[in-house]
Amino acid sequence: MTGAGRAAGDLERREAREKVTGRARYAAEYRPEGRLHGRPVPAAVARGRIASVDVSRALAVRGVVAVLTHENAPRLAAPQDPTLAVLRDDRVPHRGWYVALVVAETPEDARAGAAAVEVVYEAEEHDVVLRPDHPGLYTPEEANGGHPAVRERGDPDAALAAAPVLVEAEYRLGALHNHPMEPHAATAEWRDGGLTLHDSTQGGNAVREVLAGMFGVHRRQVTVVAEHVGGGFGSKGTARPHAVLAAMAALHTGRPVTVALPRRDLAAVVGHRAPTLHRVRLGAGPDGVLTAVEHLVVTRTSRVREFVEQAAVPARVMYGCAHSRTAHRVVALDVPTPSWMRAPGEAPGMYALESAMDELASATGVDPVELRLRNDTDREPDSGRPFSSRGLAACLREGARRFGWEGRDPRPGVRRAGGVLTGTGVASATYPVLVNPSRASARAEPDGGFRVAVNATDIGTGARTVLAQIAAEALGVPPEAVIVEVGSTALPAASLAGGSAGTASWGWAVHRACTELAERLAGAGGRVPPEGMAVDADTRGEADAEVPWARHAFGAVFAEVRADTVTGEVRLARLLGVFAAGRILNARTARAQFTGGMIMGAGMALTERSSIDVRFGDFAERDLAAYHVPVSADVPDVRAHWIEEEDPHLNPMGSKGIGEIGITGAPAAIGNALHHALGARLREPPFTPDRVLAVLRRTPPG
């Protein structure tokens, strides 16, 4: 159960030494000769128009070279993604939208220049509050990921009305912010009509397409390099405004320009997880076996672009039942544009669904692990397709064994030591198997070495390491014999590091190239010609082929919490996850992905709180002092394990994605443990002291 696989499981991360010695370079750390610094100016109103911009004071600041506004910025083609349409017109669609860019010799000069730009706005009334009865709510055509907004099976209303046991609950989740440690940054340089962009992105090929289109040049004239990326979690999944601004400023000034976004700007311009309001109804027999599931989600997007967090989608996957309704409604408000954040849909959706399952366990008296086992299914309920593999039951059983679940006293609110109550909880986890076509090349060198090239992006997953393992396995050589090149559009085009699809997508192409190279080498008697031997592979048509299976990873997360009834503080004592995600290719980097996701889930449950300032129309918690991501002291004991899963219907490596499933399950497991501790249920994370004390005042424990 250690995941020691055929690909020599547990290899040291290839770039670890560069990273611990500070030598790994990130996008803002390239200094072409004559480089300038760009500092954007965020809009100060939530809705309106720019009436006038006075840049004269800014231009008078020492060191300021240029000020770009909608009046003088280079005219670019309209981007497909309207969040990139910066400095194009006088509209202000939300607070924090960039209205100018000051370009200067030093970061200090640029900051002073930005403070001196005088913008006069014609402000309009703004509407920024999501309410379940907002008159602007509508049913979108689809939710993120191309999922239908509404799905219905059987007769859910009749089934719910007839159910012997009915659980009906509402859950609320506020906005959440990705906050990768490296704020978004790009260094742009134009030379001979071509653009080189060092970008902090999860996928350079898409950025290249976007910039080539906007600047009206051929994609071959644009090179996007992302050698090291300081995390993304979805917020760097596609091009972001900083890249457009850097390229624009470099074109305007004729000098290289770095735009590194201030941390406080990120919440408004790089995307966030939208708040979601959930209504869940579960109908079941007295034995807890589900007859009907209804999950209704209300969320909001911006007026710039529709993005619908697909939070009702996991209810289409998780448990067997004959009757179901899952639906999303959305309203466009004067708020920053939401986007992907680690496990969009699954993270909030599984919080609500798995909390409701815990309420069903309480209502029926069935043990929460047993309840989930009773509702296991070998066909995806919504599509009727068989699962290619489904390890949920194995994860629940193995997790219960490791956690010491057996013999748990189900009574809530009874484990008291002084003012502290202790509780344990469980929740299931899930994430779909996604994969995209990619290209890769493999080359045998006359000196016996191999070189694999693919424009993968390592955002912290260990892509170089695992791709070397995949290549080595296919070639039948030790991983040390393989040089892996990633992180540039000069390499064969590949899909982004997102949707937990990176390793499967890049690895498939690498595997194909290396397998063919090994065959050709064998055919040549193992002799490499003096000029080397190379194979290119493209998985288009194969990786994206329709399959008759439902493919998902599953897991089970167990939590133990201690709640202080005097201060209201909730401390996480233990968090344990067991996952079934196909074949685990590298034990150490996989464990890091699982536990890292679980820790982000713990943050979602306990510390990460974002609210809209109704008066200003923007997020109130915009920096890391106000928006609390978990620190080491918050997560004393987080462990991840996995079960070996053989699934022939995935990809040549037999792997499922592992980057996101960790965040799903953890929030509900913690919430369920908190209910077990307190005897009262909170239905709005994060479970901060004010909320805990408020619920304790209403329903004192014991």
Partner: protein, 191 residues
């Protein structure tokens, strides 16, 4: 430290916006004129091309810029460079001079105590600071209260339990969530 703008006349000096300082960075004396607004972090990154210290928040909230200044861990983004003339600054680059990893760095590699790597140089410097603080007997919130001390003498070293390490390393955020590995790595090096 000398103001560089103006004639040397005190009235001019008061209006000066830059001064010459010498920073001993990773054992090398670097003399440069710094804008008075320049933080030690920007002096290192933008002026001296020492980019190991990272800018994660620029407000002392994330720890990614942690460096060792005269042997103590400090947040370089909160230090005006002009105020640190003559200081000895050690960064992750300087911990591994000569191609040999510092024991803390080797432990981070062995334990895989990193993912995206952006917080890592700060984590490493912070851990080196923690080791010396504990050796010198500095208590933390996690340190059990000892018997009241009377008289002089050095305090006894603090034993770095996992709880102590978690508490002392909590000023260094890691959004990837490599905390368990980081705590294990620091524990490996602790006496």
């Amino acid at each position: 430290m000398e103001p560089t703008a103006g004639s040397g006349d005190p009235a001019d000096a008061a209006g000066a916006t830059a001064s010459v300082v010498t920073l001993h960075v990773n054992g090398v004396a670097r003399t440069l004129a710094v804008d008075h607004r320049t933080t030690l972090l920007d002096a290192l990154r933008e002026r001296l091309s020492v980019t190991g210290p990272k800018k994660g928040c620029d407000h002392g909230q994330c720890g990614a810029c942690t460096v060792l200044v005269d042997g103590r861990r400090m947040l370089a983004c909160l230090l005006p460079a002009v105020a640190w003339d003559g200081a000895r600054v050690l960064t992750a680059e300087g911990l591994s001079e000569g191609g040999r990893l510092h024991p803390v760095q080797a432990a981070f590699v062995a334990r895989d105590a990193l993912q995206c790597g952006y917080c890592t140089p700060g984590q490493v410097c912070s851990a080196v600071g923690v080791l010396s603080e504990a050796a010198e007997g500095h208590p933390s919130l996690a340190t059990p209260a000892g018997p009241a001390r009377t008289g002089g003498g050095l305090p006894p070293p603090v034993r770095l339990t996992p709880e102590e390490i978690r508490e002392r390393m909590s000023g260094n955020l890691c959004r990837c969530g490599a905390y368990a590995q980081i705590v294990a790595a620091v524990g490996d090096v602790a006496p």
